[in-house]
Amino acid sequence: MTHHAKKTANMSFSDEVTSRHGGETLTSCYQCGTCASSCPVARLDSSFNPREIIKLSLLGEKEEVLSGDAIWLCCSCFNCQERCPQNVEIADLIYALRNIALEAGHSPNIYSDFASALIAEGRIVQISKFVEKKREEYGLPPLKPVGVEALNKILSATGFTKPEKTEATK
């Protein structure tokens, strides 16, 4: 169990979310739906609705929220958070839900790639030799070393869990 999971084992799902970074404002929501109509994704994909995700979380539907596809469909545009009349940090909340989901083993495979690159090289996208050569051609200064060691120490100190790839791609 991660150190987060240990702490929250006996909490209600709602309390578990509000105890996480980003999830603190969950319970202010009064389901007005401003976030839903602000959301560019919700209009295009009916499986994603931020108001619904919050409602399910408040009602304690942990399994449905964490194992579902919905929470991965947010495009992090922050329009909902900007317009929310109760200052619910909706986009941050979705990060918190993803954090919990990931620790429980749910996540799209692409995140595993990001994490691997980050841990190995301190960047989420690898810099290929081709690109390094192009930089030289353009007259750009060579890239400075990346603080990979410090980065990894910080990841470790904050319980960063590398997501594993799953069979079924999401």
Binding site: R20, H21, G22, P40, V41, L44, D45, W72, L73, C75, S76, C77, F78, N79, Q81, E82, A91, D92, I94, Y95, A96, R98, N99, L102, S107, P108, I110, Y111, F114, A115, L118, G122, R123, I124, V125, Q126, I127, S128, V131, R135, Y138, L140, L143, K144, P145, V146, G147, V148, A150, L151, K153, I154, L155, A157, T158, G159, F160, T161, K162, K170
Partner: protein
């Protein structure tokens, strides 16, 4: 000459050296000195925040510490880097408890966040340090009546409480900067809506629909090109245009240019020096219009 620590992030060095190129040339012409610091890492944008928000905030704070130690403010070129670093900077400056908590973590790598520097977006450096008047003065090839649809992207403006770049509902900084170059800034519907960039690889359909929406609306408004502030938005609309053509059988021929590329052109930089060939949608029509 004001100096900044330039924060390149990951996407720009990996996929958009043209953005970096035009930005460096522009800032040099305008008298801003850029310093490349050692040990910057990924800023930990939304994909990493999705894995662990706390880790991301701590890594962002780590990067800010490097700049604090060098006594330099940071200029970020990518919206994602700007948001990640500026949000962390603002949050830690405001919330003492959070700062103490993050500093406990940073102590493990021998760093301490003090809150002594600012994190600025490329646009802010142009606006605050140089100013519209000086930019206008330095323009040698005004982008005569080039109709540009400005696209802020999401993370330059929101969440506005922490980023404080401009009015999140009615921003004008980008439009003013375009007009200072002699270009005509074009209003179009839903201009502040997301490009869908972060959904690539998760829900390509939605991502493409959002990119297409931008292309449709800017075309309807009569724009000659779209100008971006963020490498993700650039890719979503540039390469994205080919994918839109493929999926929807629609051709837009809408060149996408970073603001730094436009300003470089206006300041007289030779187009050949700007790696415009790396754009998937060629910028030839734009170059013709401003010749």
């Amino acid at each position: 000459m004001k100096s900044y620590a330039i924060f390149l992030g990951c996407t720009i060095p990996a996929r958009q050296p043209n953005y970096e190129l035009s930005a460096r040339k522009t800032l040099a012409k305008l008298g801003v000195k850029l310093v490349d610091l050692d040990n910057f890492t990924c800023c930990c944008p939304p994909p990493i925040q999705s894995i662990n928000l706390e880790s991301s905030q701590a890594v962002a704070a780590y990067n800010i510490c490097l700049a604090e130690e060098a006594g330099l403010d940071i200029v970020a070129l990518c919206n994602g880097c700007f948001e990640s670093l500026a949000m962390a900077n603002a949050a830690l400056k405001k919330d003492k408890k959070l700062k103490a908590h993050i500093n406990e973590i940073l102590a493990e790598v021998g760093k301490e966040f003090k809150g002594t520097i600012e994190v600025k977006h490329f646009l802010q450096v142009l606006m605050d340090d140089i100013g519209l008047e000086k930019i206008k003065e330095k323009v040698v090839k005004p982008l005569s009546s080039l109709k540009v649809a400005p696209f802020y992207g999401c993370h330059s403006l929101r969440p506005s409480k922490l980023l404080q770049l401009d009015d999140p509902e009615r921003p004008t900084i980008f439009e003013n900067l375009l007009e200072a170059l002699g270009a005509e800034s074009v209003e179009y519907r839903d201009k502040l809506k997301c490009c869908g960039g972060l959904l690539k690889g998760i829900s390509d359909d939605t991502a493409l629909s959002l990119a297409r929406d931008k292309l449709v609306k800017t075309t309807k408004a009569g724009a000659d090109c779209i100008s971006t502030l963020c490498p993700f938005c650039f890719v979503a609309l540039d390469i994205g245009q080919l994918q839109v053509k493929s999926k929807f059988s629609e051709v837009y021929d809408m060149p996408i240019l970073h603001y730094s590329e436009l300003i470089a052109l206006a300041l007289g930089v030779d187009p050949e020096e700007l790696a415009l060939r790396s754009h998937k949608i060629k910028a030839d029509t734009v170059l013709e219009k401003i010749a």
